[in-house]
């Protein structure tokens, strides 16, 4: 299992740095994404998160979103993923 923490303002300039996190997964089938410190998330960073989730799902793995902040909740709701992606709220 690998825990990845994203925080701060996640907009287009940050998206490339988030993509680097995908390379660090190295076949991990369970990934936990810590999102409590995210203050803003735009479509580009949401796309990176979806890439990460798809990558893990393709391996029959599981992604857990831990403590999504309100902006992330809003994006999950907008993408109708609340019933699809596993979330954990502390």
């Amino acid at each position: 299992m690998r825990v990845i923490t994203w925080q701060g303002r996640l907009d287009a300039p940050v998206a490339n740095r988030l993509l680097a996190d995908l390379a660090l997964l190295r076949g991990q089938r369970r990934v936990e994404l810590e999102l409590s410190g995210v203050t803003y998330m735009d479509a580009a960073c949401f796309g990176v998160m979806m890439q990460l989730i798809r990558l893990v799902w393709t391996r029959n793995g599981e992604v857990v979103l831990r403590s999504p902040s309100p902006p992330v909740w809003e994006k999950l709701r907008e993408g109708q993923l609340l019933e699809v992606v596993k979330t954990e709220v502390k």
């Binding site: 735009d42 479509a43 949401f46």
Partner: protein
């Protein structure tokens, strides 16, 4: 890892159950064999490969010496392959669906963001549209207010528009007078500094705007030339926009903004000031033209400024020659207001019958009539003046014989002795060297009209006069118009009636 854990746990449970049941599963149906159930559970949880491994493990641990080994092998491996295959297929479907959902979620969020961006753009466009509509409404208001005002109120209207539409706290309107600017109207000042009332063209911002004939702001003003410009008195210019003549482009005046909130000192304000100055120029030009065409006299002061502007432009070689005719009727001031109005109206008709209305820039004040003939050189001006004198002698002298002496003068921009504009202005406006012409003697009434007048029946006399005019359609249009005007405007006033009698009498004599 989880697979081996589950397999070990399952085997442990089965071993424990076997111990409890003495390895006697006979009462269970073969299809409910605990080993088969274990393999099926492994297949559902992990897939067919792990299920086959589990089956082989079960066979390895329990199959040796089993009486139905072949049946057990088929049952266990068959369950592993069938259930595991189904579970794997379902798992692949679920994974595919989740990936599709993830892609759609990404697309949804992306489109939602684009939609939000479009909404924002739409709101901004609507805001800009509203601003544009506001600007259009402002410009319409400026145009309406400047177009509606007459010459006497135009300076006040211009500074009001500048103050309200631009937000200027202090602004002024200067009009050109020769080589200087004279303050015509200001707004926002409790008291205007004396040195700001009249400005000689120099190096200041207003002069720069006048010379370059375009709007100039303090930001564009050279710092080394930023010296005294009423600064100590608080009369500091921020923007200066020249008011140009709509036709010739000559500078008629300057709009000056002295105080403006910092947030409004921007490009929009300068553009709006430029537009106001342009509209003011058009209004001034149109007002002069419409005044002349509609028969309204200009004020003497405005006419004086106009004449100065013409002279200044002509002296710089930017304007065609012009001429000036002045007529003074000293006795007119002694007449009553009714009669004076008739005389003024007659003068307008005479002027319009000789001159083209669009060429006439005239003023009427006290006892003096001034006419500016644009684009008219000395020779045609002399001819026009002769025609005008003849017409005045014929028409004016007929029905107002007691006007006494009147003075007629013609001055041309090319005449010798009038080299300086100021001298010409003085000459023409003040009539320093008048030519005196005496009017003809009073004429006789026709007998029948005289008889009606003696019987004190002015209505019948008037009717008789009308019929006399109607019976003679060959009369000159101007005279006919003049007489008709006086007939229609006549009342029981004896003097007015007498004027009509004289006119008709003279007309009848001329026609017979």
């Amino acid at each position: 890892m989880r697979f081996w854990l589950n397999l070990g746990l399952g085997m442990l449970v089965l071993a424990l159950a076997g111990q409890l049941m003495g390895h006697d599963f006979r009462f269970l149906h073969w299809a409910l064999s605990p080993y088969v159930l274990l393999v099926i559970a492994i297949a559902l949880e992990h897939g067919w490969i792990e299920a086959c491994v589990a089956a082989l493990a079960v066979l390895g641990l329990t199959g040796s010496g089993h009486p139905d080994l072949r049946f057990q092998v088929v049952l266990l491996l068959g369950s592993a392959l069938f259930v595991g295959g189904l579970a794997d297929r379902n798992r692949r479907r679920i994974r595919h669906l989740r990936l599709v959902v993830a892609s759609q979620a990404e697309a949804l969020v992306s489109q939602g963001e684009q939609l939000a961006s479009l909404e924002k753009s739409k709101a901004e466009l609507l805001h800009r549209l509203a601003e544009r509509q506001t600007s259009t409404a402002t410009l319409h208001e400026v145009y309406r207010r400047l177009a509606d005002e007459d010459l006497a109120r135009l300076p006040s209207a211009v500074v009001d528009v500048v103050a309200e539409c631009i937000g200027a706290e202090q602004c002024s309107l200067y009009l050109m007078e020769g080589n200087s600017l004279r303050l015509a109207m200001s707004k926002g000042w409790t008291s205007t500094p004396e040195e700001a009332r009249t400005l000689t063209l120099g190096d200041d911002l207003l002069s720069l705007a006048v010379r370059e004939k375009r709007l100039r702001t303090l930001q564009e003003f050279p710092l080394e030339r930023l010296r005294y410009d009423g600064m100590e008195a608080g009369f500091m210019r921020l923007m200066a926009a020249p008011i140009l003549h709509a036709g010739s482009g000559a500078v008629l005046g300057v709009l000056s903004v002295e105080s403006l909130p910092f947030s409004l000192f921007n490009r929009s304000s300068t553009q709006l000031l430029e537009t106001i100055a342009e509209l003011a120029g058009r209004s001034l030009t149109a007002a002069v033209t419409s005044s002349a065409a509609s028969g309204e006299w200009l004020s003497r002061e405005f006419f004086r400024r106009r004449l100065r502007a013409e002279l200044t432009a002509q002296s710089k070689g930017t304007r065609a020659h012009f001429s000036y005719i002045s007529l003074r009727l000293p006795q007119l001031e002694k007449t009553n207001p009714t009669r004076r109005a008739l005389v003024e109206r007659a003068l307008k008709l005479i002027l319009q019958s000789i001159l083209h209305p669009e060429d006439v820039r005239g003023y009427w004040e006290a006892d003096t009539l001034g006419v500016l003939l644009l684009g008219t050189e000395a020779a045609p001006a002399q001819r026009l003046s002769q025609d005008l004198q003849k017409e005045l002698q014929t028409q004016l002298g007929l029905w107002i014989p007691d006007l006494g002496l009147w003075r007629f003068e013609v001055a041309c921009s090319t005449s010798e002795g009038f080299q300086e504009p100021e001298e010409l202005v003085s000459k023409t406006l003040l009539g320093a060297r008048p030519a005196q012409v005496s009017l003809g003697p009073a004429l006789e009434f026709p007998p029948e009209v005289a008889e009606l007048k003696a019987r004190r029946q002015p209505e019948l006399a008037l009717d008789r006069l009308r019929r006399l005019v109607q019976e003679r359609p060959k009369h000159a249009p101007t005279r006919h118009l003049l007489i008709r005007t006086y007939l229609e405007s006549s009342d029981s006033d004896a003097l007015a009636l007498a004027s009509e009698h004289y006119s008709v009498t003279k007309l009848l004599e001329a026609s017979t």
